[in-house]
């Protein structure tokens, strides 16, 4: 139908659409140039690092590249019995090269991640290798240490063959791929990550709830109080933003430690006895208290900005129509604040789930979160690919929450201010 409609022409005889496009092209270019710096900034600081993280988390080429001949020879090994002589020979040649290049240490570290005990036998092999004679490497290697005759170690070696692997992700949720390629849980006593994940979600959830319970009345007061009082209150709410996070956390440590002010007070009023002071620091309690305080403004501000827009005459209308103050609040005021609640909860939850400094300082052993584990692997074990994998899992979790939230409440309903 539309093709039958005559093309509208400008007074110069150029089709209108075309001339419009021309006119807008310039504007579009201008707009693009204006956002260019930001776009570049985002790409450099956000897209690249995350892309790099994603790559690192699956990248397993290091071992693959170190043992090229071995893996080539292993291709037709079925993994049931010990490999043939040619595999041993290839391994010997690869390893010899590594020893010459002095990079064999890395291999030892990597293989040790895969199976404990690799490090020592590799070291031993390095020492004994100098006296190796040509031919029959299988016998010679196996005689270095009895583990070399254990097929488990060769299977572990083969598992590192693929250039890319998702094993780090499995490790993040306490699983691994066993000898038969089945995905199974690690032994009970070594399941550390699952506890951390659960604890992280739990802490984030309860911190969100606590923040909400405290922020709602504050925000309401802020929105309804006369200007001069509300400004003062607003400053009190924002004060935490103006002091360093470390200072605030440290002050919580002073307050909550066993010989701290809060405990002194409890003893003074006789709530607890002096020799039985509760531990409120270096456990989950400390994490809860400090994080709630630190994240409170992120809940107050969205709530406040939404409440500010609710006309007081709505509550009055509700009451004049016969609703008790409670009904007026529950049926009128509360539903209107839902966008603010959604925004605040999402914000606090997402911030809490990736929180790092506070749990690290006040959390102790039972109060640390997944982000502390990530930091540990980045700084101490230097297993960056594992840290990346966990970081990405965290990111995916946040995106999933966002998606669920969008389904339930609708992102358009969010109001940040």
């Amino acid at each position: 139908m539309s093709s039958e409609i005559q093309k509208i022409l400008t007074t110069d005889g150029i089709p209108l659409e075309e001339s419009l496009r021309k006119a807008e092209k310039k504007n579009k270019l201008k707009a693009f140039l204006l956002v260019c710096p930001l776009l570049l900034f985002l790409i450099i600081t956000y897209v690249f690092p995350i892309g790099d993280m994603l790559f690192r988390s699956v990248d397993d080429r290091m071992v693959t590249n170190m043992l090229p001949k071995t893996y080539k020879a292993m291709e037709n090994w079925d993994g049931k019995d010990l490999p043939d002589e040619n595999v041993f020979e290839a391994f010997y040649l690869d390893y010899k090269k590594l020893v010459e290049e002095k990079t064999f240490g890395k291999l030892a570290t990597q293989l040790n991640y895969e199976k404990n005990g690799f490090k020592s036998i590799l070291k031993k092999l390095k020492r004994k290798m100098k006296k190796f004679e040509e031919g029959d490497y299988k016998e010679q290697i196996m005689s270095v240490h009895k583990r070399w005759a254990n097929v488990e170690y060769w299977r572990a070696l083969k598992r590192r063959a693929p250039a890319y692997s998702y094993s780090k992700y499995l490790k993040g949720i306490d699983m691994y791929e066993d000898e038969n390629g089945k995905i199974v849980q690690v032994p009970e006593d070594r399941r550390v990550h699952k506890i951390l994940w659960v604890r992280t979600v739990e802490v984030a959830f309860f911190v969100t709830v606590l923040c909400f319970l405290m922020a709602y009345p504050i925000a309401h007061l802020l929105a309804t109080l006369p200007m001069k009082y509300s400004n003062l209150l607003m400053i009190c709410v924002l004060l935490p933003f103006w002091t360093s996070l470390l200072v605030r956390t440290a002050s919580w440590m002073i307050l909550l430690q066993q010989q701290g002010i809060v405990n002194d007070f409890f003893v003074w009023i006789g709530l607890v006895s002096d020799d039985n002071r509760p531990e409120m620091m270096y456990n989950k309690t400390g994490t809860y208290v400090a994080m709630t305080q630190i994240l409170l403004p992120f809940m107050v501000l969205p709530l406040y900005s939404v409440m500010k827009t609710i006309s007081p005459s709505l509550m009055r209308a509700g009451k004049s129509l016969g609703g008790t103050p409670f009904i007026a609040f529950w049926k009128i005021y509360f539903p209107l604040t839902i966008p603010g609640i959604g925004a605040g909860c999402l914000l606090v939850f997402i911030l809490a789930i990736g929180y790092y400094i506070t749990p690290a300082l006040v959390g102790g052993a039972s109060g640390t979160l997944i982000s502390n584990q990530i930091a540990f692997h980045m700084k101490s074990t230097l297993d960056w690919s594992f840290a990346s994998a966990m970081g990405l899992m965290l990111l995916a979790g946040v995106l999933a929450i966002y998606w669920v939230y969008n389904k339930l409440v609708g992102v358009d309903n969010i109001k940040l201010g």
Partner: protein, 362 residues
């Protein structure tokens, strides 16, 4: 059933927000059952404050308000049974029109069937049938307004308060809404307390009008009396158009007084607030009470020079320079007899002493 003439009673009510200024002073006001009473007055004169006290959102600083002879100061707002139309509509934005109207019925635990019936009736009353499922945001200003009116009436309150309910509407919609509200009032006999800035609206709709100024009721009377017989110069000035002469009383009897104007001449007037010789006064005269070239013999007769002529369709407004008042307005019906109204002409203007009201000088 006889109607209670003191259905709502403000008894010596004072109100101050800050403890320094009284925004309502010694308010005494009786409103009878089924009456349509309008509060009219300039901005900040305390009208909304009065409604808020009646509805229960402000407490009187002093005095008491009675509803059907019961003091209501101690009854919380939601138990007063007073419907209110707020200046800004105050429709609940997250509820449909139906839910908005059903709200007061639901909190009163009315059964579902009855709610449906009453909502239907209320919506047809404001001719909005079929809009049940719209959200308030999807309605035009006038429609929202009508929903607000319907919501204030749907639970059969004894009193309905309307605070400038038509303030935001265009002239046509405003007029048709005025008619509708008036019609609703007449058909269900509810007591209405209405606030407006628009004196035309007040004059056409009300049984009685209370003119507020400075926290006080200046005059409380029917629309015609208010217009024809203002009791002080504020009311005379505030309601309708008005020609004023400032002067001093030189002679006074029971129903006539002589006033010497500041520029020298003397006019005869009707003494309303003035009591004795020598008092300062402002004489107020409605434009339509002064005639040009009248055949009748009238007590006041003066010549004035035409300064401006404004054509208004059915009549012409003429501005004269008369007795030192350069803004003397006349309304002349447009008929062929008045052809001599030309800029600069001198014409004869006359009026009766009864229509020239000698009021307080302010």
């Amino acid at each position: 059933m006889s109607k209670n003439s003191q259905f709502v009673r403000f008894d010596k009510v004072d109100k101050s927000y800050d403890g320094k200024v009284l925004v309502v002073k010694d308010l005494n006001l009786d409103i009878s059952e089924g009456e349509f009473i309008t509060m009219l007055g300039p901005s900040g004169s305390g009208k909304t404050t009065c409604l808020m006290m009646l509805a229960g959102f402000e407490t009187p600083t002093n005095g008491e308000i009675y509803l059907d002879n019961n003091p209501i100061s101690n009854i919380p707002p939601h138990k007063r049974g007073i419907g209110m139309v707020f200046q800004n509509y105050a429709l609940f934005p997250h509820m449909t029109v139906y839910e908005n109207l059903a709200f007061p019925l639901r909190v009163r635990k009315v059964s579902k069937g009855d709610i449906d019936k009453k909502v239907d009736k209320a919506l047809s009353m404001v001719s909005l049938t079929g809009f049940e499922n719209r959200m308030p945001g999807q309605l035009s200003g006038g429609q929202q307004q009508r929903v607000a009116v319907a919501r204030a009436l749907v639970f059969d309150p004894a009193v309905v308060l309307m605070d400038e309910p038509l303030g935001a509407l265009d002239k046509n919609l405003r007029e048709s809404m005025q008619y509708e509200i008036k019609h609703i009032h007449e058909s269900i006999g509810v007591t209405v307390v209405y606030v407006t800035h628009d004196q035309g609206e007040a004059l056409t709709m009300s049984n009685r009008i209370a003119v507020f100024n400075d926290g006080k009721v200046q005059q409380l009377s029917s629309p015609d009396k208010l217009y024809e017989e203002p009791v002080n110069s504020f009311v005379a000035e505030f309601i309708g158009e008005n020609n004023r002469f400032a002067g001093q009383v030189t002679e006074i009897t029971k129903d006539k007084c002589k006033v010497k104007l500041n520029e020298g001449s003397e006019i005869l007037a009707n003494p309303i607030t003035v009591k004795s010789n020598g008092e300062k006064t402002i004489v107020s005269l409605r434009p339509e009470r002064a005639l040009i070239n009248s055949k009748e013999k009238m007590e006041n007769n003066f010549k004035g020079k035409i300064e401006e002529v404004i054509y208004h369709g059915d009549h012409t407004r003429v501005r004269l320079d008369l007795l030192g008042n350069k803004d003397f307005i006349l309304k002349v019906p447009n008929s062929s007899a008045n052809m001599e109204i030309k800029l600069g002409n001198q014409i004869n203007v006359s009026w009766n002493s009864f229509d020239a009201r000698a009021l307080d000088p302010k």
